[in-house]
């Protein structure tokens, strides 16, 4: 194995808390009711195809992509649609969801449920992209950008490197880690599928070095698959950021405001690649994913295969329920995840974890004024000056933040994590970004 790779600008080393790294993926089981949001991606919400009273099966197409930047939605359970209207979502805002009462577990017959691994890829690139689109696959690392658009790189750009993102640098989360350990071969076949679309032969699977089991499982197979390489990376947050990963692996930088394809790279999360494998070779649309349920207040943490639409409270109950100390329930990791207003909100295609955290862990007592230590600028992986942005935002000088390149912020939260004065620098940056977008 070669030297550990990493990105050069900024970064932090938060405690890892990977307590579920050895728990095998379990089936979470079926809840009584699922709530499937029609918007689980960036772009336009999908158009609902079902009505109240309709019977659906597992894998039934229930909402159709509205336009190019959108994604299909599939039923994750079999049963009866009992409501097609807005339901209180994770943030307390009402979102359009399809509510299905679960009856049995009947799958669409087209889905290949056999346990064997399919290794032949008898499709053309166009067929593959179509299959990915028809499976409603979106970037499962958290961004939720529809995968078919990302995979079908415009012809004027030349992608020469495919990077599989197995970094998972957020504390607590181990969903991708377990997936790489248990589904290593499927992920590698998935990378071959994307290779075919891109017309290249190689793929680099980037895994950080605190996942030795995943590295071992993948490395064992790379001998059989020519062109696939495992690259161990130093453990550093936010290594899993697309831009940071490209720089770590290839040394290239994505120009400001441009796409990874402009740097000749395509980055796909390993979860997405697994979904691509299942969609293309097993005809299985995206309706379930791996979710880590963990946290310092979680009695029985673990990794679960969860149907999209399962209420978070169902998973929480399965893991021992909330206890007195639980102060916060997070969707996603503790660095970039969101804190749940409503714990009955459903797991979506993008939910990588559900964390139950104590007050002691998450409490942010308000700090002092800025002491000008400059640590935020030191850790910013983009090289921004968060202290400056924060000062401008506090004075409502949003126009001036444009000159600070705030729109390049990747919202990783390194600045707010590291600020000794506990200033909400990330909130300031996000506010500046949204204000600038609104004014544009």
């Amino acid at each position: 194995m070669t030297k550990l790779k990493t990105f050069s600008i900024g970064g932090i080393h938060p405690d890892k808390y990977k307590i579920t790294t050895d728990s095998p993926i379990q089936d979470a089981g079926l809840p009584e009711t699922v709530y499937i949001p029609v918007k689980q991606h960036i772009g336009a919400p999908a158009k609902i195809l079902v009505q109240k009273g309709d019977k659906v099966k597992v894998g039934t197409h229930i909402a159709d992509a509205d336009g190019i930047v959108s994604a299909d939605v599939f039923s994750s359970v079999s049963g009866e649609v009992i409501k097609v209207e807005a339901v209180e979502g994770e943030f307390g805002y009402h979102e359009d969801m399809i509510t299905i009462r679960v009856e049995g577990d009947e799958w669409e017959p087209s889905i290949d449920r056999s346990p064997g691994i399919v290794r032949d890829i008898p499709y053309t690139p166009e067929q593959i992209v179509a299959k990915i689109r028809e499976a409603g696959i979106v970037g499962m690392g958290g961004a939720g950008y529809p995968t078919p658009i990302k995979t079908a790189v415009p012809t004027d750009k030349k992608v020469d490197t495919l990077i599989l993102n197995g970094i998972e640098c957020e504390p607590f989360l181990t969903a991708d880690d377990r997936l790489m350990v248990e589904k290593a071969e499927q992920i590698i076949i998935g990378s071959k599928i994307i290779n075919k679309v891109l017309g290249i032969q190689n793929a680099i699977i980037a895994v950080d070095e605190n996942k030795p089991r995943a590295i071992a499982a993948l490395s064992k197979l790379t001998k059989r698959y020519v062109g696939v390489n495992v690259q161990a990376c130093a453990t550093k947050y936010p290594q899993g950021g697309e831009k940071q990963l490209i720089t770590a692996i290839t040394g290239r930088e994505v120009p400001s405001g441009k796409l990874p394809a402009d740097a000749g790279c395509l980055v796909q999360n390993v979860g997405t690649v697994y979904a691509i494998y299942e969609a293309v070779l097993k005809n299985k649309p995206l309706f379930e994913r791996i979710v880590t349920v963990s946290g310092d207040c979680c009695k029985h943490p673990g990794n679960f295969l969860v149907r999209v639409g399962t209420p978070a409270s169902f998973l929480i109950e399965k893991c021992g329920g909330l206890c007195d100390e639980t102060a916060q329930v997070l969707f996603g990791g503790p660095m970039m995840g969101t804190s749940a207003f409503n714990i009955n909100a459903p797991v979506t295609k993008l939910t990588s974890g559900i964390l139950l955290l104590s007050d002691a862990m998450t409490h942010k007592e308000l700090g002092t004024d800025c002491i000008r230590c400059g640590k935020c600028a030191e850790v910013c992986p983009i090289g921004l000056q968060p202290f400056l942005i924060g000062r401008l935002v506090r004075e409502n000088m949003f126009e001036e933040t444009r000159g600070c390149h705030v729109s390049d912020c990747i919202e990783c939260g390194c600045c707010a994590y590291t600020c000794p004065a506990r200033l909400p620098l990330l909130d300031f940056c996000k506010l500046a970004k949204s204000e600038l977008k609104r004014k544009k």
Partner: protein, 333 residues
Amino acid sequence: MLKISTAPHLTTSRTTPVIMRDVVIALIPAMIAAVLFFGLNALLVIATSVAACVMFEYLFSRYVFKTGNTSGDWSAVITGLLLAYNLPSSMPVLMIFIGAFMAIVVAKLCYGGLGKNLFNPALVGRVFLFISFPVQMTHWPRPEFMNLLASDAQTGATTLGILKHLDAQTSATALTAGQHSLQEIPGYWQMFVGNTGGCLGEVSALALLLGLAYMLWRRVITWHIPFYYISTVFVLTAVLYLATGDVRYEPVTHLLSGGLMLGAIFMATDYTTSPMTKNGQILFAVGCGALTVIIRLYSAYPEGVSFAILIMNAFVPLIDKYARPRFYGQGGK
């Protein structure tokens, strides 16, 4: 009731008071050295200075400026320690109070308190005392190792003072008043451990380097400012020394004497009054080093560290404006 908050949900435990406390810990070796060489008088000066600073911070932040009580965050303790380290052990108590007032009230709280002051408070206090009470401020008791009750009646000159008034022509023969001879300069080892005349905290390079090591280990500061400051002084004096052969430019002596170590490690690295970005800090440190050499060699004062840092402090807003960090995706392929 569940709690909701914005990301990131984890934050570092290294908050402002923790960092400040680490700086205080890093200053302890120099305190021990001061007591070892200057006796209990040193302890008296340090205790007075710290107590005065904390008291002024408490009273003025609470009752006068009403910015909320900030005396608990250890920053006043640091100012007090640094002020004391910049005074000779024979400093009268009343004057220490005046220095502490200048440092905390005028140089820090008048600007808005922690994080808003333009000049390093301890240095403002020191320079004020230095200009107002030049006699007391240049009265250097002789160091007596391990003599706790050392009296401050015995005085000598600092190494830099000796260099400044070195009379090259007459050094072999009779000394005129106020002139010094080369033989008075202590050896490198003596200067390194601190057995030399000077301010309390600045004499022992060894103790200060221990503090630096602790701060680097705890990641309170990065190596940039101390390294560039000290090496600028070293390189400039070395060039002059090699070019002229004049003993007054001897680089190692410049490195180990005076307040260079104290200034480079603890004063120039003060968060508030140094630039925020790495390249800015390097510029700042080189500027400090160059000014220190210029003042030491070409001005009326033997020592220039405090003035150099204060002058560069004034440039910090300008440096911050232009020294931006390298920006991702700006230059890369």
